[in-house]
Symmetry: C2
Subunit: 227 residues, 2 copies
């Protein structure tokens, strides 16, 4: 479902060039569960943003569901970002002036639900991450781990066929992390594709395949025999 | 050096009350190395903000260096926050329009250094967290773990006598986390006090004492025999 060919991403800063990704060629089939690991700054979030159609590569090709992403219209891209892909951002990216409920309900607008239906589905999803009693809190009225869970709920609310989760448990205690990983397992068992970035080996073990990045390149790509 | 007596913090939201801290009485001596752990939402960041003089409790007393914090003047508090205490925020709180170098140099303004001296010290501190080559990048031009390390560098730059670090390694790979913990050890060995919030047991093991919070109360307070 995801196929990249020699993806590179270079940032130009004055006279300096930062090669965030040098050449990434990877193939991920529908229903796979892949974990990306690698040192801080190795290019994981940059790759996730390209895979999630939030950013475009400097060079290389990205084929999603058999179609070249650079040929897609703005409408097609918006549809993919809102209905097909669920994205948990490393820095959450919640709307600061909206409640958790509003934040989680946002992707449902694209799915065509009424306001009452959106609030009901969003509340159920908030409960599934343990935050049913925080629906009316705004992000600055939540703990770090609560904000992270609102970001997870928002990514899951549309039952996405592709979940991209960038360090989804970095601010969570062990017990709460495992609850989140159970939700991802549920989504995966319905046949969806999960791509996870993490630097925690215990979390990476939930995946069936572990890809390690270093300095913008793939260092290794191995099967995990016991997910 | 830090003494709290029945500290409580309640947030009022409409008709609802959230008891973030119910009653915290704790005593931390100069030169101790304490780790706070506990589930997401248990009150750790709220306690850190009170200890760091960034927030005041709803009730209870906080004595810092023998003086009641609620009796301090705005000037005394500003001096403490900028010169005595180094704070690594769970959400980094970097100035978005400034470079890493500027962000790290900011606390040095209080110490009375010249601009050239501030930039030199800030650059050395950035190098100590592995980001000497990212001095000119703004926060949005950095990876998640790089932003976290800039936040750590800013907290360390003034050689604070009390370091408060709220989840300082949540976005870092293992190797980089240990480099940061080595910097904290260096600061500790000079006789300074370190208070760390973490949910990672491996990181908590660097501390000499582990205090666990649950639902706004202290659940346990134990010595770590092998830091
Ligand atoms: N401004 C606020 N208004 C209402 N409730 C708040 C506010 N700030 C924090 N809270 C609540 O206080 C409780 C404690 O928050 P705190 O940030 O101290 O938790 P924490 O232990 O640091 O959690 P985490 O591990 O997730 O960072 C949480 O349940 C949170 O929802
Ligand atoms: N807008 C930008 N301009 C310049 N350099 C950038 C920009 N965005 C990212 N970078 C650089 O690209 C590199 C890769 O960043 P990326 O965010 O993908 O890393 P990462 O693997 O997600 O790291 P982490 O584990 O710390 O989150 C980093 O070295 C970063 O400094
Ligand atoms: Mg990242
Ligand atoms: Mg916190």
């Amino acid at each position: 479902v995801i196929e990249t060919e020699a993806i590179a991403k270079t940032y130009v800063m004055g006279s300096e060039q930062v090669h965030a990704l040098k050449s990434i060629s990877i193939s991920i089939n529908r229903g796979e569960y892949v974990a990306f690991m690698g040192p801080s700054g190795s290019g994981k979030s940059t790759l996730m943003n390209i895979v999630g159609c939030l950013d475009s590569p400097t060079s290389g090709t990205y084929i999603l569901n058999g179609k070249n992403v650079s040929d897609m219209t703005e409408n097609e891209l918006a549809e993919i970002r809102n209905k097909e892909i669920g994205f948990v951002f490393q820095t959450f990216n919640l709307l600061p002036r909206n409640t958790s409920l509003d934040n989680v309900a946002l992707p449902l607008i694209y799915a065509g639900y009424s306001k009452a239906e959106r609030n009901e589905i969003a509340l159920q999803t908030l409960k599934s991450v343990g935050l049913g009693d925080r629906a009316k809190h705004k992000p600055n009225e939540l703990s770090g781990g609560q904000r992270q869970r609102v970001a997870v709920a928002r990514a899951l609310v549309n039952n996405p066929s592709i979940l991209l989760a960038d360090e989804p448990t970095g601010n969570l205690d062990t017990k709460t992390s495992y609850e989140i990983m159970d939700l991802f397992d549920e989504l995966h068992q319905k046949g969806n594709t999960i791509i996870l970035v993490t630097h925690e080996e215990d979390i990476a073990k939930y995946a069936h395949r572990i890809v390690r990045l270093r300095d913008g390149l793939i260092e290794s790509d191995t099967i995990n025999p016991n997910p």
